[in-house]
Amino acid sequence: MRPSRRIVRIFAKGNVDVRDSLLWSKVGGVLQWNGINEVLRTRHPHALARVRHETCTRLDLIPLPGETPLLAPPAEVARRLPAKSHPIDRQQRTAMFDEPADVVVLSLQSAATNALVRHRRDGWLLLPDEIETWDPELRAWLAQECEYAGLADIDVVFGRLRQLIPAIEERTGAQVLVYNLNPLTPGEVTHCWSGAEDSIKLRVQRFNLRLAELSAELGFSIVDVDRVVASAGADHLKVDLFHLRAEGWRLLAEEVVRILEERGCLDAAAS
């Protein structure tokens, strides 16, 4: 009798790193990497990942179950501004708690690198996604109404993660995996930060270290993007700070599968 297929439900809340490694990666409309099921097909032929992906404006803005986002832009603003990869009405919402999942995947990328704007009067926050494609009129409106709110405070981010991860585990019963970030931008080597405000490299290193500390405290798994990229070589794998080549996405998907194996998520599907 043919064994039944094990479905692994993955809720992936993140941006290019989780989407391109777990779902698919396309460049110029051409498929480069076809996601985690490519790995499962070889290593666990009776398992299939069903990945639901949701972009992440910033980790610290993900609401806990029952929490109403207080800093979300009003509906009329959401309607007025363009909806790109981060639709404004969903920037501070999530479907993560709405359905059962075996695995929830998060990523540090949004928290480490996404800068927001704040409404000058009302204080709501938004990510002006792909602003370079907006109409000049809307850009002018945004400049008039909002001010730069900067990057997330590291303590705020990890304070939220400390609440969020147990909430996910409790509400959905899922294993939580969090992607860290490789801080390298190919070709960039810095020897001195004197006079520099902050650097994305140092910031990412700080976030990665805090994530390791939180993993030690809470016991969730880290998808060590930093180590995976360093092992194979950033020159070879990276396009820029965020984007990997197909080989890189494959290595990350393999790392996720290894963690799922360690966590027993694929046990029922062992061939």
């Binding site: 490789n182 930060w193 270290l209 880290i222 930093d226 092992s231």
Partner: protein
Amino acid sequence: MIPLVLPALSAEPARIRRSGLRWRRESGAQVRAREPIAVCYVRLSGVGDAPVPLAEEQNDLQVLLAPQAPCRIHRKAEVSEGGYRDLVDTGEWRPGEYVVDAESLTGTAELLPMILAGRRGFESGEGRGSLLAGWHERVRAFWPGTDGADRYGIVLSLGTCEQSAVFRGDDTAFLSWFARAPGPAQLISVSDERCVHSSAVLLQHLRRTPAEALAITSAVHEWIGQRISRCGPESFPGFGADAAHGTLHGRWPEAQEISFAFHLLAEAVGTSPILERTEILTAGGVAELPPPEAIALTLGSELAHHFRHKRTGWLIALHSFRFGPFIGPGVMDWLRRDFEPVKRTVADMRRDLAALADEVQARVGGTLVVQNLIASRVTDRVANYAWLGDAFDECVAVVGNEANLMLGELTRAHAIVMIDSDALAAELGVEQVPDRFHASGALVEAQRAEVHRVLRALRIPGF
């Protein structure tokens, strides 16, 4: 065919004598600009009662000779006599002496000298033959500039083995720097076989007083005395009855223990290499150079085992791999009895590096050039840090990243720049350095190029 000649070098009023030339390239070989084609030993003499310049390096003073532009060389047979005639001084250094022919050379016929000077740990310890052969407590290389500049850039390397690879190179004689740095420049390397040069050790050395040096000397003397006084007839197995007709016992067993302690002392109570001035040979005579303006360190030194002498406060740092194969049980007993281990956190490293940078800047105007740690390793896969339990704080992936972050942040406010070996290894792939320290040729070259870039950014002349 252009006759290439010996360059002008002078030690007036001392004389420079040289050995025969030992060739490094075959006759007919096409050589690159600044590629050494021959080497000889030199020795200074004839200054009457006055001290001989470069006195501590007389026994291992070598001059490498290179054409200043690419050419094909044809050796002149009589300038190399072979055997020991090419190892000991046999004649005068004569500037302008014709030694080799060059084909298709454009440019000057005067060969460019690179002078190597090794200060032996034990003066009688002969190790002649190849470039900077033997064990030296300090080695250096200096060479003049080709554009008339006369201010030497001086760089001191005090780091661990991963830095020796960058500075001394595969040839152990700094040739890769001679090839790339136009000069005038001097590179100095003090190795860490005796004591590892962590920031804490260096800082204490810089601040040491004569009274403290005396106390350390007394402590070592006392321990050596105890070792010797404990000796009985059985301590000399080479003379035992069973050795009368042949024995495998060779070295006196005490020798290495005492020797190690003595060398540890000699470094601790000698001048800090950060403050030490140097003499060089130039075309115009012997010149005295100031202390180094760039001091290269490695974060790896900070991770060495530190021990503080209980009575004197003397701090030493030793690599763990030296215990056993290099440092015998007697020294280990001494460490257990008279020293206490010092556990250093990343915060301690930060404090000591910052203080060292400030002190170096204030006293000699130098900058610390610190190579960071290669934190990632292919095999160190930790997905869930909770599984580490109490080992979390000592996990290399954590400590390494924490230390690297600390170093990056220190560069904001102190005279410290960072060589980001971690980034270079990650760019090429950390398989280039499977154990985090001993890198492949490709990675070492990338690190060397980065050090060179940074020295130029710091405006160290000659680089």
